[in-house]
């Protein structure tokens, strides 16, 4: 299986390539990609150099252009697709129907992957994206169990890629405007979720509250660790209950499910985290590369390598196990 690894910077890209990533995904430094964070992502020159470096080492590079173009400003997204082809990208990762149609018509030789932001969650719609826009691979939304993924792969020839490690969206991706409701900025329009620009920490009565856009997302004792106030992982009250009503502050680790995902016909395993450091990226890639090499060779998985990276943070296998629902 192919490991698809994030790179938020040219240094992270080189680190991932050296650590054995088959494929790297990254984005341009603007609102065309869904990790539009300050100090992150690639200029046009950096992208061309990064792709040349990756190709020189036998790795591929995918460019995520996976926000939804703003009405009146589509040319910015069109330019990103064109520049991706010029830079030598192996594929672009797109979510917007209009942009897919544009890319298919104007850049027919540039391979198109369907972003998780399109939330294509069944074989019929995946095949539809294939026939309408020539999509060759789909990144599956994080709402499906492993048996459902296997069923999808039986009914489509389009490759599937699934998330195995890192941040976990609880909602169907590309279908969530919780962040813009609280802050005005959303993944779909701005490429950000629960943005740091709208976070404030307040100390009151021995408690540290983390707020997002003025809404208290969680409150902890001042000596306890305070997780980042990601909206869907906040602590809320409903009826007579209080707690993490949508999701606990967990991240995804489906390492143990790699053999089952292989059996389910998955082509590629995706690691989340373009905002992560190059040392983190290198460590995660090494571990996952060792794991897929073991699975491909019919050996058991190497033991508990990722525990250290998730230290202090709870992990989940998310929707891959049906009980998560």
């Amino acid at each position: 299986m192919e490991i698809v690894c994030p790179a938020g910077t040219p240094a992270a890209l080189r680190a991932a390539v050296k650590a054995g990533a088959h494929t790297i995904y990254c984005g341009f430094a603007d609102e065309t990609n869904a990790r539009n964070f300050p100090g992150l992502n690639f200029s046009r020159e950096e992208m061309a150099e990064g792709i040349a470096f990756a190709h020189g080492h036998g790795s591929k590079v995918l460019i995520a252009i996976n926000t939804f173009p703003r009405a009146g400003s589509e040319s910015l997204w069109h330019a990103a697709v064109s520049d991706a082809e010029t830079a030598g990208a192996d594929a672009v990762i797109l979510a917007d129907i209009g942009l897919l149609a544009y890319a298919a018509n104007n850049h027919p030789n540039l391979r198109r992957h369907l972003s998780v932001q399109a939330a294509a969650a069944n074989a019929d719609v995946i095949n539809f994206y294939g026939s309408e826009f020539g999509v060759k691979r789909v990144v599956l939304p994080r709402v499906l169990s492993v048996p459902e993924i296997a069923a999808i792969n039986k009914d489509t020839d389009i490759e599937t890629e699934v998330f195995v490690f890192g941040g976990l969206c609880v909602m169907a991706e590309g279908r969530c405007s919780l962040s813009s409701y609280a802050t005005g900025l959303s993944p779909n329009m701005n490429g950000v979720c629960s943005p740091a620009s709208h976070v404030e920490y307040l100390e009151e009565d021995g408690h540290l509250s983390a707020r997002l856009g003025g809404y208290t997302i969680h409150s902890v004792g001042k000596d306890e660790p305070a997780p980042y106030p990601t909206l869907c992982k906040g602590c809320f009250g409903a009826g007579d209950k209080t707690g993490h009503l949508f999701e606990d502050p967990v991240s995804l680790n489906a390492e143990q499910l790699i053999p089952q995902l292989a059996k389910a016909g998955v082509t590629a395993l995706k690691i989340e985290g373009r905002q992560r450091s190059r040392s983190y990226v290198a460590q995660v890639v090494k571990n996952f590369r060792a794991a897929v090499d073991a699975v491909d060779a019919g050996r058991p998985l190497p033991e508990g390598m990722l525990a250290r990276l998730s230290e202090g943070q709870a992990v989940t296998t998310g929707a891959y196990k049906k009980t998560w629902r």
Binding site: E74, A118, E148, C176, S209, R325
Partner: protein
């Protein structure tokens, strides 16, 4: 401008569900979308009431459309999606899956949960046979204006989210079931006691969201009370009103009065709060800094 009533987002008893459409038959609205948008497990409880409701509404001179689900993963959901076109009324797609199931060349409508953010997407949908699009609620006025201009060229009527709790997210996980310590497959219909969703507060007691099974909505009720003129100016064809359990037919009448310039935005807002027992209002997605903001007077 016209008034469209969107599909009911919540789990109501079959009697309450039918009563809504009986009431709407004599309400001053032009178009009604019905069917299940949120959870396929709810559909069997009122499925038999759908055709009679369609007949009632058509007899009352309303245009009628059937919605698809907004997230389609299971076999039975695919089957339900394929069956939509057989009913013989317009289909509103709220997931692209439903478009893949329509006969080639069929006309259709596009609901607010399909991501139509730009002219390219609108144009592609128009070529495929779309005749109406209700835009995603998070779009600002500048985008609405640009899409109305593109819609006028492509022969597509543009509708905006006019009134109702805003659908903000859909998930594979059922939060109502989770709240009751159950799983989705064994939910025992934990959502049935919350006909407008279950209020979700921040830990310091600020009303924030509303839980509706696999769906998350805003606590506040969006209202275009203060933007009727601006939306008319940019060419919006219709306002979408989303059903609520209290005072909904009155709500429809109030919007009609507003569209007829019989009442102003402040009066409409005051009346909306009165007929709904004190609903909080918002219009920030269109003109504010954030979706939850309200441009009008405080309650």
């Amino acid at each position: 401008m016209e008034l469209t009533v969107g599909p009911n987002h919540f789990f109501w008893s079959s009697e309450d569900w039918s009563a809504l459409y009986d009431g709407l038959a004599s309400a001053p609205v032009d178009r009604v979308i019905l069917g299940e948008l949120v959870c396929s497990k709810r559909l069997p409880f009122y499925q038999d009431a759908i055709l009679p409701a369609i007949e009632t509404l058509i007899a009352a001179g309303k245009e009628v459309a059937l919605t698809s689900l907004s997230l389609i993963t299971l076999k039975r959901e695919l089957k339900a999606s394929m069956a939509l076109a057989e009913v013989g009324v317009d289909v509103e797609i709220n997931d692209l899956t439903a478009l893949s199931h329509l006969p080639e060349g069929a006309k259709f409508s596009v609901g607010p949960l399909v991501n139509v953010y730009n002219e390219g997407t609108l144009g592609w949908l128009a070529k495929r046979g779309a005749t109406r699009i209700c835009l995603p609620p998070e779009l600002p006025l500048a985008s609405v204006a640009a899409l109305c201009a593109a819609g006028a060229e492509a022969g597509i009527a543009i509708e905006v989210w006019g009134h109702g709790r805003i659908p903000l997210a859909i998930s594979g996980r059922c939060y109502h079931a989770r709240l009751h310590g159950r799983m989705k497959d064994n939910c025992l219909f934990a959502c049935e006691d919350d006909p407008d969703g279950l209020q979700v507060d921040t830990s310091d007691g600020q009303p924030f969201l509303s839980m509706n099974g696999v769906q998350t909505l805003s606590d506040s009720c969006a209202s275009m009370a203060h933007h009727v003129e601006a939306l008319r100016d940019v060419g919006v064809s219709a306002l979408r009103l989303s059903p609520q359990s209290v005072g909904f037919v009155d709500t429809c009448s109030l919007y009609r009065q507003r569209l007829n310039d019989e009442i102003d935005g402040d009066t409409l807002a005051d009346e909306l709060r009165r007929v709904s027992n004190g609903m909080r209002l918002s219009d920030g997605f269109l003109t504010g800094a954030r979706g939850a903001d309200w441009s009008g007077k405080a309650a």
